[in-house]
């Protein structure tokens, strides 16, 4: 059966929608903020976008393999609370580095926790990670009951003001992420991700280690969430035990508009990263256009619905026409 050209294109290039939205968002942003392409603005924007980009990369891997992780935001919160209380504003850079390492371990342990329940106890990913999101969120509030504390400014400034070759760290981190992904995709493990997400039963019958693959995706997601948490405290300098709360929905939205199917087995992380940047730009637009911030949630919701509905709407139109 023939496919309409849009369906064909979006199947071959799953991140097409993200690209279109990205370009539209940039044009609209440019209208409100003519300085958008000046180096200062770009670096400033990317500095703000990077935490979500890291979070999205991990979430995309989970969704690609057919799961979902809605505890990522809470892991960000734990990391933020942990660093703010253990390192402190007057801590030394060495201490900060040590606790960054511990924070990554915490992310991995949280991911193992999710992965164990989903892969080995066969619990529903959405229920499991919803439950653990309260667990992790509660721990964050236990460690740091209200916003406060932080990391030394000298450390935060490395993230905020140091620009190798005039570009912010994000311009180095993102290509490395994409490159690592492109390489992973060409390994057996990469193929396993697609196979498990596409049809787990078939993968199992082909002797793919399905449980281990599912487990690994949650560990990756936990690790990336911890990285995002480190990144966000570098950005803000202070701790906030609820900072990650709204990042979960943003991460999932980014993945969806980035063309990684919620059903699994299709997509990658390049599209979702573009989706994350697009969401950041939309946030900018809303603040520049002097619109109430609650519109931002509204716009996110509209985008996610549109992205999910697009293929269905197109085939509906096609059917009515004939």
């Amino acid at each position: 059966m023939k496919r309409t050209s849009f369906q064909h294109l979006s199947l071959r290039y799953p991140y097409l929608l993200a690209l279109v939205l990205f370009i539209i968002a940039i044009l609209v942003n440019l209208y409100f903020q003519t300085s958008l392409f000046e180096p200062g603005t770009i670096n400033n924007n990317m500095r703000v976008f990077l935490p979500l980009v890291l979070l999205v990369a991990g979430e995309a891997v989970v969704i690609l393999a057919g799961g979902i992780d809605i505890s990522v935001g809470s892991i960000v919160s734990i990391v933020s609370a942990l660093l703010a209380t253990r390192v402190g504003i007057d801590g030394t850079p060495e201490k900060a580095l040590l606790w960054f390492g511990i924070a990554l371990l915490v992310g991995i342990v949280a991911g193992c926790f999710n992965g164990f329940f989903v892969a080995y106890l066969r619990l529903q990913p959405i229920i499991t990670t919803y439950a653990t999101s309260f667990l992790f969120g509660g721990m964050a509030l236990f460690i740091l009951p209200q916003p406060g504390g932080g990391i030394p400014a000298s450390v935060a400034n490395i993230y905020r003001t140091v620009m190798p070759l005039g570009l912010h760290w994000a311009f180095y981190v993102i290509p490395v992420l994409v490159l690592v992904w492109v390489l992973i995709r060409e390994t057996r493990y990469g193929r396993y991700l697609f196979a498990v997400g596409g049809k787990a039963q078939a993968a199992y019958e082909t002797a793919v280690p399905v449980n281990q693959v599912i487990f690994s995706t949650y560990v990756i997601s936990g690790l990336m969430a911890a990285l995002a948490g480190i990144c966000i405290i570098l950005l803000t300098g202070t701790g906030n035990p609820q900072i990650g709360e709204q990042m979960t929905l943003q991460a999932i939205t980014s993945v969806v508009i980035g063309g990684t199917a919620m059903s699994g087995g299709v997509g990658g992380i390049a599209g979702p990263i573009m989706g994350a940047v697009t969401l950041g730009i939309i946030k900018n637009i809303i603040s520049f256009a002097n619109i109430d911030t609650w519109w931002q949630t509204f716009v996110n919701a509209i985008i996610i619905v549109a992205a999910l509905a697009a293929p269905g709407v197109i085939s509906l139109f096609r059917r009515n026409r004939s």
């Binding site: 059966m1 023939k2 390489l183 060409e186 390994t187 057996r188 990469g190 193929r191 396993y192 697609f194 196979a195 997400g197 596409g198 049809k199 039963q201 078939a202 993968a203 199992y204 019958e205 082909t206 002797a207 793919v208 280690p209 087995g265 299709v266 059917r319 004939s322």
Partner: protein
């Protein structure tokens, strides 16, 4: 002769259900053994025990005389046991090449997949079925974009790419057309000579007699007979399978002349879709019209167009009135019913009760709140007339065997008293015992005045059952077969596009 693999007294329970209570199978190198049994007799379970997909609860597996256990498919595969799964073990979103080599990708240094090597080796494998594809297959096509028969071929190629010692073919021929089956059998004979042991699970008697050396028959989870193929008749095998002397005999009734007098129920003129290239045909009242031909030559499109399920152009006259349905709802309302080809996906709500499945199209006539007593009575009546073997109307449809599940689909439409019934390969994967009942049922339905358009991939049943057969080839009707031309030779010739006989 060394015994390469032997399953002895295998027991397997799924929850409280005993799927196998005494399964036995000996597999020798260089031999094809047919594993035969009615649906639900435990064939698939036994083959899944042998390939490690399920872990058995009792009995033992002997490999060259030594007991082994397979805790995972991986361990069975390491010993060279490979399977063509009935439900296919392919990931639709991945390409042909990725699917075939999944878990065994040739690697370059640093663990990267060697795409070039994969492509070359995939092409070599694809060439094994040269001439059996509708279009040349590119290793980079997503498997999900291929028609079902070609997916099945890819599944076979995947299994053989292991170069296995034991190859299990679980209903591998069910969705293949006769040309593809012949090619497969040529390959099986070759593999046999190479010393591979082959387990052939099938419902098609003709194929079993053509390819198998030995047989092993399962009935209700127990191996009831095994021996050499040349020492048993088709009749004998059927008796072993059903356990009683009920032979499947469906004498075709010579009623064509009688039917030709009847008024036309449906006239199709110049029907076109992306696949169909101008179909003209007539179905008469009470006629059982067969649609034959190789898989994928537009039979499914024909049925779906009449049912209003796919975009099409052309003219339909239903009982003299011009119709053109753009939605199956319209067709159903006017007394047309479709029994789809993929019963678990398109025909049934697997986890709902038999009653709910039967009543699904008819609930509207049971008022509000639903008159459950009446529904139960009607459900009871129809399941009795269908001779449905079930534990009760409130049992899940899942619990029925393939043939009985198919009866539920027919039953749900019979409750609506359709005047035209469209059947898309309804006996695929149905055992012989149930098939015979099914044929009787179809004849009965026709005698009550309902017209049936019956597509089947099984040439035997078309010949045995239908009043008239239209053979499709490349989206057109190649030939119309009526008695006395209603023979298998004519059907096969027309399916292959042979240009003899009455061309349209």
């Amino acid at each position: 002769m060394t015994l390469s693999l032997s399953a002895q007294n295998i027991v397997k329970r799924y929850g409280g259900v005993l799927a196998l209570s005494d399964g036995n199978l000996d597999i020798h190198p260089g031999e094809v053994v047919a594993l035969i049994g009615a649906n639900g007799s435990g064939k698939s379970t036994l083959s899944k025990v042998i390939n490690g997909v399920v872990v058995f609860d009792g009995g033992q597996l002997l490999l060259d005389g030594k007991p082994v256990t397979f805790p995972s498919p991986q361990s069975a595969r390491n010993l060279g046991i490979s399977t063509v799964f009935q439900e296919l073990s392919l990931v639709p979103q991945m390409t042909v090449a990725e699917n075939i080599w999944l878990t065994r990708e040739p690697l370059k240094p640093y663990g990267l997949v060697d795409k070039k090597e994969i492509k070359v080796r995939t092409k070599e494998l694809i060439a094994l079925f040269e001439g059996c594809y509708k279009l040349p297959i590119n290793p980079d096509y997503p498997v999900g974009s291929l028609p079902p028969d070609e997916m099945q071929l890819i599944e076979i190629l995947k299994a053989i790419s292991f170069n296995p010692r034991v190859l299990i073919l679980d209903e591998a021929t069910a969705s293949l057309d006769s040309r593809q089956v012949q090619r497969l059998f040529e390959l099986v004979s070759k593999w046999k000579k190479d010393g591979k042991a082959i387990v052939f699970v099938s419902h098609r008697m003709e194929e079993i007699f053509q390819i198998a050396d030995r047989y092993s028959v399962l009935r209700n989870g127990v191996t009831v007979g095994a021996g050499m193929m040349n020492e048993i008749t088709e009749h004998g095998l059927v008796n072993l399978m059903v356990g009683k002397d009920s032979v499947f005999s469906y004498a075709a009734k010579e009623r064509q002349s009688e039917i030709a007098e009847k008024p036309a129920r449906l006239v199709v003129e110049n029907l076109q879709t992306t696949v169909l290239k101008g179909i003209d045909m007539t179905v008469r009242e009470g006629e059982l019209l067969g649609i034959g031909g190789l898989k994928g030559h537009g039979q499914r499109d024909l049925l779906l167009s009449i049912f209003g399920d796919i975009p099409h152009s052309g003219k339909f006259l239903f009982e003299g009135k011009q119709i053109n349905y753009s939605h199956p709802r319209h067709a159903i309302k006017n007394g047309i019913a479709l029994v789809p080809g993929d019963r678990s996906r398109e025909g049934l709500l697997p986890i709902r009760s038999i009653l709910e499945n039967l009543m699904l199209p008819s609930w509207a006539s049971y008022g509000f709140p639903l008159k459950m007593r009446k529904a139960n009575l009607d459900g009871e009546a129809i399941s009795n007339s269908l001779n449905l073997k079930m534990s009760g109307l409130d049992a899940q449809v899942n619990s029925l065997s393939g043939g009985n599940a198919q009866k539920v689909i027919i039953g749900k439409w019979l409750l609506k008293k359709p005047r035209l019934l469209l059947l898309d390969d309804p006996t695929k994967g149905v055992d012989v015992g149930t098939k015979a009942e099914f044929y009787k049922l179809l004849r009965q339905i026709c005698e009550n005045g309902t017209s049936i358009i019956f597509y089947s991939s099984d040439d035997e049943e078309l010949i045995g059952l239908c009043d008239r057969i239209l053979v499709m080839y490349e989206g057109q009707i190649r030939r119309e077969l009526v008695a006395p031309n209603l023979t298998k030779a004519n059907l096969v010739a027309a399916s292959m596009g042979a240009s003899d006989g009455s061309m349209k």
